[in-house]
């Protein structure tokens, strides 16, 4: 499987030439991608990935089809600038890194829904909610009376 991968070779990762080397060099992928939950609602056949900036559409397609067996119909790619902040001296600095976002459309009617990963917060029962409301009302009343020296508001 890995033998059919041909990636653009980055100069740092190139091995020195030797006459006994095989002609088709087998390289491991230097790329690592991340599947994310889409911010805006997407149709069910689209996946949203975060991708290193050096990767392109065709490389992502080969990556997904060879390593993960995902049939890909269409890929759209955009570059997202990282959010930046200013400090008290109004100097700007980047807080987050720039990253590339890819929207992958799957073939043959496959669908995917991003699952809930975080633990669900326990919802309060009705009785607990009513109790909390009562406590809040009494606390408000107490505040009014303490300001007046413990005397009721009738006076």
């Amino acid at each position: 499987m890995a033998s059919s991968l041909v990636f653009r070779q980055l100069l740092r990762h190139r091995l020195p030439w030797h006459p006994e080397n095989p002609k088709l060099q087998v390289l491991l992928t230097p790329f690592c991608i991340k599947l994310v939950r889409p911010g805006k609602p997407q149709p069910p056949d689209t996946l949203q990935f975060r991708i290193p900036m050096e990767m392109g559409k065709q490389e992502l397609k080969i990556y997904l089809e060879e390593l993960y067996n995902i049939p890909v119909a269409d890929i759209r790619v955009r570059i997202q600038m990282g959010r930046r902040a200013r400090n008290w001296q109004n100097r700007m600095y980047w807080k987050e890194e720039d990253h590339k976002v890819a929207y992958v459309v799957m073939r043959d009617g496959q669908t995917f829904e991003f699952p809930d990963i975080l633990a669900k917060k326990e919802e309060k029962t009705e009785i607990e909610k009513m109790e909390n409301e009562m406590y809040e009302k009494e606390a408000v009343k107490q505040r009014e009376t303490t300001q007046r020296g413990g005397i009721n508001t009738w006076f």
């Binding site: 997407q42 149709p43 689209t46 269409d74």
Partner: protein, 504 residues
């Protein structure tokens, strides 16, 4: 005098400027009625209600009031006499609309195109087309078509540097083929003898979908127009239209490269409203302008799946014919709020030069934003088949007779004059209150003024206007005070509104 008063209108008509209006005391006299006898119980007349109907007020901005105002405006537009007035009244405002084109270039765009136009697809041509008798001169026409193919493909030497080959060949071939067939077959087919054939006219249609507006911009290569319309393929409320499946696409069309633009919306079926021939018969569309069959399968980088070609052709047929038939419906007098009561049909032939696909479209509804509407529009579609396989040694190899037969059947589908009355029923407009153009500028009155005279919208604003005058000459003082005078000449209302200077 009374006869004159009865004939003169006491209100303004939309789109016309009137230099004379009756003074209000005269108008009041016309509205006064003589005291009538009370209705007796013996005659059994219906009791007139004592109070006016309970209706949201026109001065508020609540949701019910907004809906009520919208309905009043729609009733007013529905009561207009001619379809030209209706179109100009409906399309006055610029709006944000999604720009749609017939050929989509994304994956599964055909599903969105079906959802937006509410069409179901049937994979068979209807019986009224397959039952059309083909002429006795089939062999003659066949030999002529083969000669045409050889001429265009084999013998003609063209300058290939200028145009792309599939584009140029497809366009020229379809035009020559249409000319040949309409002239060779017109003996036994009367509607083609008096038909109009238009090359390269634009078709534009806009419509409201559930949450946004859509505008179709399209340019079919050839349109054939006839005096009478085609008969319907299946009744409006039949199983095909009500139980047919329409794919749902509830996400925004930005995922399919369909973007919004604020522009003046247009409705234009390719011919003007004053033209004598107003019924569409067939469209010829050349696919090789947007995509080529050979490159589609060879393009391994993009790896387009095999189905997408046929589905995109189907989608372009859906969009092109929907826009065409709906624009024709608007020219007859129907609108998005006044639905059709008989179906409008048309046909399409999509070509590559070698492959032919046929489609027959039936438009059942115009109002697509209502979810209660059970009717759907129907497309009868036949998949693409080649007309010939190859050309060898000056001869056409593998000529397909079925394709030519269906082509002649599609063109020979006879038109019939409509038995029902054209256009929707006339709807009279009865506003709940009577208004007077010269009364005080209350909010209610302003609403009616804007509705009756939309060309005076700007003048009917009730804001204060302070104008600077040049060379203001005050006759009392007898001298030129100069420019920049604001204190003296303060206005309470807009001077361009004509005021009656008498006693009300």
């Amino acid at each position: 005098m009374a006869a004159l008063i009865q004939n003169m209108r006491p209100y303004l008509v939309v789109g016309k400027s009137c230099s004379f209006t009756w003074p209000p005391n005269v108008l009041a006299r016309t509205c006064m009625t003589s005291p009538k006898a009370l209705p007796s119980a013996e005659t059994g007349q219906e009791k007139r209600p004592l109070y006016p109907p309970v209706v949201p007020s026109l001065t508020s901005n609540s949701e019910a009031a907004k809906k009520y105002k919208q309905e009043l405006i729609r009733q007013k537009i529905a009561s207009l006499p001619s379809p030209k007035d209706k179109i100009t009244a409906l399309l006055q405002q610029n709006r944000k609309a999604h720009m749609l084109y017939a050929l989509g270039r994304r994956y599964n765009v055909h599903a969105y195109q079906q959802w937006v136009t509410r069409t179901t697809v049937v994979k068979q041509l209807p019986e009224s087309v397959t039952d059309v008798p083909v002429d006795d001169r089939f062999e003659q026409v066949k030999s002529q078509v083969m000669d045409l193919i050889l001429q265009e493909r084999h013998y003609m030497k063209r300058n290939d540097n200028k145009w792309r080959e599939p584009y140029r060949f497809g366009v020229v071939f379809t035009k020559e083929l249409a000319r040949l067939l309409t002239t060779a077959v017109s003996d036994g087919v009367p509607h083609l003898a008096t038909a109009n054939i238009i090359h390269g006219a634009k078709v534009e249609y806009c419509w409201p979908h559930t949450e946004y507006w859509c505008q179709l911009l399209d340019q079919p290569d050839i349109q054939i127009l006839t005096h009478h319309p085609l008969p319907q393929y299946c009744p409006m409320d039949s199983a095909a239209s009500i139980n047919g499946e329409v794919p749902v696409y509830e996400w925004s069309p930005r995922h399919l490269a369909i973007f919004e633009r604020t522009r003046k919306r247009t409705i234009f079926p390719g011919f003007k409203i004053e033209s004598p021939i107003q019924c569409g018969h067939t469209q010829f569309r050349v696919i090789s302008k947007g995509m080529s069959r050979e490159k589609f399968h060879q393009d391994l980088r993009k790896d387009k799946t095999g189905d997408q070609l046929e589905l995109r052709i189907m989608g372009s047929a859906v969009m092109g014919l929907f826009g065409w038939t709906a624009a024709q419906a608007f020219y007859i007098g129907f609108t998005w709020y006044q639905d059709l009561h008989y179906p409008i049909t048309s046909q399409v032939v999509l070509t590559d030069g070698r492959f032919f696909t046929f489609g027959c479209y039936q438009l059942n509804t115009l109002s697509l934003q209502q979810e209660d509407n059970p009717r759907r529009n129907v497309l009868f579609f036949q998949e693409s088949q080649p007309l010939y396989d190859d050309i060898q040694d000056g001869q056409v190899v593998g000529f397909n007779d079925d394709v030519l037969r269906t082509l002649l059947q599609v063109l020979g589908n006879r038109t019939e004059p409509l038995q029902t009355e054209w256009g929707p029923e006339p709807v009279p407009f009865n506003p709940p209150t009577r208004f007077n153009y010269h009364l005080g500028d209350t909010q209610e009155n302003l609403f009616f003024k804007k509705m009756y005279a939309p060309h005076l919208r700007k003048d009917l604003s009730s804001e204060r206007v302070v104008r600077k005058l040049k060379n203001f000459k005050d006759n009392r003082l007898g001298k030129n005070i100069g420019s920049g005078v604001t204190d003296i000449y303060q206005l309470e209302s807009n001077p361009s509104v004509r005021k009656f200077k008498g006693e009300d």
